[in-house]
């Protein structure tokens, strides 16, 4: 019974694609949480000190772009493997 289920799992479920899908989902969750936090703190900081809004948005863009870069690299690597 158990062996039959195992056999079914190996043939019916494509573990390669399953792994890739789960991996991509995790990457996106990480990126979304990170950039969301950055955006939130940036907006908070601008609310406290509006005259620093230029500096703050610059820093926010830098951090968001760096995280985005890592995300995209991870997605490309998952896609091609």
């Amino acid at each position: 019974m158990f062996e039959f289920a195992l056999l079914l799992a190996q043939t019916a479920i494509d573990l390669n694609k399953l792994g890739a899908g789960i991996g991509m989902g995790l990457v996106i969750i990480g990126a979304g949480l990170g950039i969301g936090r950055i955006g939130g703190s940036a907006v908070d900081a601008i609310a406290r000190q509006p005259e620093a809004s230029g500096t703050i948005s610059t820093q926010m863009l830098i951090a968001a772009a760096l995280i985005e870069g890592v995300t995209v690299i991870a997605l490309i690597l998952i896609l091609i493997s």
Binding site: Q49, E51, A52, S53, G54, T55, S57, T58, L61, I62, A65, L66, E68, G69, V70, V72, I73, L75, I76
Partner: protein
């Protein structure tokens, strides 16, 4: 004109699966059947697919991405020759200094935004020396991105009913090679500007932030030196990968979305027609998002390049003293100018 799927994608002709069709939309396609030249490398058995070396031969074809690179370059050249003509001072009285025509004024707005909000807060005095390179990078990436959104090939296919035209267009920056070249350009720019501004000795020494005097600190200093060099290389590599990934993935998503129609049509024709309506609206929304991403990625590439250049030329003893206002308007990027573009022109007085 012949499209030849690269052998990595060798699916059976009739039943190419839909994911393969979506992926082939973003891969480069050869525009002609015979290679322009062929270099033999290694033995008969060497096959390195990602270097296009098959059976010991490297064949050079002109692909659609290569052609779009040339098209983007020519369009940038022509556009800015025209814009420069219109911005040039000429005429009588005050009209001499006004930019003539809406097209030139549009590009002048974008040029001014890059110069005043991206480059000047970071490079300050060196802005005018290096603005030509920064402008070139920004507008080349922007034009290459946006030209990739125009489905030249599919329009040609629809008009001439000839399938071989379908891959005529393409996003130049969706090709990894072009992005690597752009990143190499940024790398060379950083090193060149660093050596030119602060001298070779100071430039190569600044990769060790601790300093070379104390022999005890040298233990950490030397690994840190290599780490900083690797950091610079990695930053440029990530610049390339970010642009490549966003451009390729954007087109892949739009392609898969449109191919949903075909997979629905396989089930039944009326389902295909229904899905067609939904995909039309979804496709429009996705393409608008993709247009925004094109502009954003060009901006981010330029902005990060300028940032890396400014950290490379940072003088260590450069602090102005206590009268330097940290929130000075001149040192910050002013995002409100994006919301009200009428204040972006260089003719608007700065306070």
């Amino acid at each position: 004109m012949l499209l030849q799927f690269p052998p990595i994608l060798a699916a059976a002709d009739a039943e190419a699966s839909l994911t393969d069709m979506a992926v082939s939309h973003v891969l480069p396609h050869r525009l002609h059947s015979e290679p322009l030249f062929s270099v033999s490398v290694g033995s008969e058995t060497t096959t390195i697919p990602w270097l296009n070396i098959y059976n010991g031969h490297y064949d050079f074809y002109i692909t659609n991405h290569l052609m779009m690179t040339m098209v983007a370059a020519v369009v940038v050249l022509l556009t800015f020759m025209y814009v420069a003509l219109r911005i040039r001072v000429g005429g009588i009285g005050l009209d001499a200094y006004r930019t003539k025509g809406r097209f030139a004024q549009l590009f002048e707005t974008m040029l001014t935004f890059i110069r005043e909000e991206v480059v000047r807060p970071n490079l300050r005095g060196m802005t005018d020396k290096y603005i030509a390179y920064i402008w070139t990078v920004f507008f080349f990436v922007l034009f290459a991105n946006v030209l990739g959104l125009i489905p030249i090939g599919y329009i040609a296919q629809a008009v001439t009913k000839d399938v071989s035209f379908s891959h005529l267009g393409g996003t130049a920056t969706g090709n990894l090679s072009l992005n690597v070249v752009l990143a190499i350009g940024s790398f060379i720019a950083i090193i060149f500007i660093g050596i030119r501004e602060i001298g070779a000795k100071a430039f190569f020494a600044h990769f060790n932030p601790i300093g070379w005097d104390d022999p005890k600190m040298l233990l950490i200093g030397i690994p840190l030196y290599f780490l900083e060099w690797m950091g610079l290389v990695i930053k440029c590599v990530v610049l390339a990968m970010r642009l490549f990934g966003t451009m390729m993935a954007g087109h892949l998503v739009i392609a898969s979305f449109v191919l949903l129609i075909f997979s629905a049509a396989k089930v039944s024709t009326s389902l295909g027609l229904g899905v067609q309506v939904a995909v039309l609206f979804g496709g429009i929304a996705l393409t608008l998002l993709e247009l925004f991403i094109c502009f954003l990625q060009a901006f981010i590439f330029t902005f990060l390049t300028v940032l890396f250049i400014s950290t490379a030329v940072a003088h260590h003893g450069d602090h102005d003293g206590h009268d330097h206002d940290p929130f000075d308007e001149r040192d910050q990027m002013n995002m409100e100018k994006l919301m009200s573009p009428s204040t972006m022109s260089p003719a608007v007085a700065k306070h």
